[in-house]
Amino acid sequence: MPSPLTFDFYNSIIEVPSPDTSVDLQYLINQIRDTEDELNPAMSYSKIADAFGKQSLGGGTFVGLTVQLLNNWKLRFQARNGPDTIACIVTGGNLVAESGNPISPSAYTQITIAQSSSPTIATPDDNTNIKYLIESLRGSEASGIGNIFYWDPVNGNDSNTGTLPSKAVATFAQAQILTTDSNFDVIYCLSSHPSGITTVTETLSITKNTLKVRGPGHTFQLKPTATSNDTISVGAHSVEISGIYIETAVTGSANAISVTGNRNLIKDCWITNVRGQGINMISSAFSKITGCVIENCDGNGIKTNNSVIQLNISKNIISNNADGILLSGTGTSDNLVENNLIYKNSAYGVAIGSGVVNTNVRGANTIVNNTTGNTQDLGTDTYIETQAGGASASEIADAVWDEVISGHTTAGSMGKTLKDAKAKATLASLK
């Protein structure tokens, strides 16, 4: 990201600070307009420049940018110490000046301006088709086909447009302001701290329907210091949260993620060191939690409350919580737990509360070593599939051999049938 330009209003000089050796005209006019609206001292001076161009010529081509410096303003690159002369360049269109020469000389710099009588800006054609193609590969839940914004807590600035990584905003709150409700917009979380780990203390309140918040994984960490808010609270529909490491404040009782709304997707998140629930679901239909690690929660790994229906919990690793999964509340029904590894939780691996209807715990879950029990079923019409690989061959053999005699003597049992067949055969041979 280029350094901010400096403006000397008395001498009418815009200076590109060292060590930058280039300036793009789009950046130049952005900086000029940003400076012109400052009360001190810019408002008492005339505007610095006019800019023209950027009209669409079709096919992704635009009229090039021309910046005209007014009132004797000039552009200067900061003087160098020498003895080598530094080559500097002005790019991105035509730079002209009302006074004639738009460049002010400085020591040990040599400036090049690439001018053209018919400058154009060529950009790729509409990438809508590419967006749809890529999103179709992500699966049915994801459809981030709207506008894209970048959130960079380290290098971002909330006065930026957020439309490029180099123009990222600094806070999630500002990024969300830039998005449009129900437009399938995407906010990409950038991890740009030199250490490799970007840590954020902001808590996220997601209120825009269909917003997708996508992080790079473990390198982007939400670690709030405030105890009053859940780290992420979703109050919208069809939201996606993916690729983020999430904790709560070290004290308090906040949840890592709380969800109120339908068709929300929580994917590929690492949720740990939580004082409340890992994921707290309230009044949600058709939501999905998948690919997450949920561990070390003082509360439950996943908890449903009233009116959570058709929640799909799959392919998660859930350990060291109170209950791994607690399905509870009135109006909670038709939820599915499959393909999860649920172990070493201090209460139950999966607990199904009374009044919870039609829960299916099936499909290759591994639920082991949970302190109180692996499953608890107080619900109605629950189906809990026997875990594959739950007993060894010797355990099965022992179970057969150790079965009481009466189990083999009742009519219809294998033992009784074989015994009767033998008796009939013996009688037949005597005849």
Binding site: T6, F7, D8, F9, Y10, N11, Q26, I29, N30, R33, D34, E36, D37, L39, N40, P41, A42, M43, S44, S46, K47, A51, F52, G53, K54, L65, S159, T161, T163, K167, L178
Partner: protein, 158 residues
């Protein structure tokens, strides 16, 4: 947005006042040699020009909370306090009618009419929706002055 007194056209009158003696660094008042006219806003901002400074810090903007012509002519309650010592008679100052970041769809100031004044109005905004810099001139007379800013969206900046 800002509304300045002008000498002519769009040239701002930056020498409405000249510095009196005693305007030393750290003071929270600024004394001028001239009588402060009645159409000076009761609170607002004063811009002081250090004429010996030929760099980017030549002008400094302070807000004031009051002014008086009792005894010496003085602007009081300056914030921040003077950042330097100003040279008597050499350094100048001027007071805009309006000099603020607008937080509503209109801005207004009420002053006591003194005489007709030529004024310059400026409105600028670089934000998510930026506008082209707007300025217009007019005359502030005994019936006051009002104008609407034309806020043309700037399609160049990003």
């Amino acid at each position: 947005m800002a509304v300045f007194r002008t000498t002519s056209g769009t040239t701002i009158n930056k020498a409405m006042f000249t510095s009196a003696s005693g305007n030393t660094s750290g003071n929270s008042a600024f004394t001028v040699n001239e009588t402060i006219p009645s159409d000076t806003p009761s609170t607002g901002s004063i811009r002081i020009v250090d004429t010996s400074d030929t760099g980017s810090t030549r002008e400094t903007r302070y807000t004031y909370t009051g002014w008086t012509n009792s005894g010496s002519s003085q602007f009081t309650g300056l914030s921040p306090t003077l950042d330097r010592t100003y040279t008597a008679t050499d350094d100048t100052a001027y007071v805009p009618y309006i000099d603020t970041e607008a937080d509503a769809t209109s801005e207004a100031v009420t002053v006591i009419y003194s005489t007709d004044r030529n004024i310059l109005v400026r409105v600028r905004r670089k934000a998510a929706t930026a506008i082209l810099p707007f300025e217009t001139t007019g005359t502030f007379s005994s019936t006051g002055y009002s104008t609407s800013a034309i806020r043309t969206t700037d399609t160049i900046v990003t």
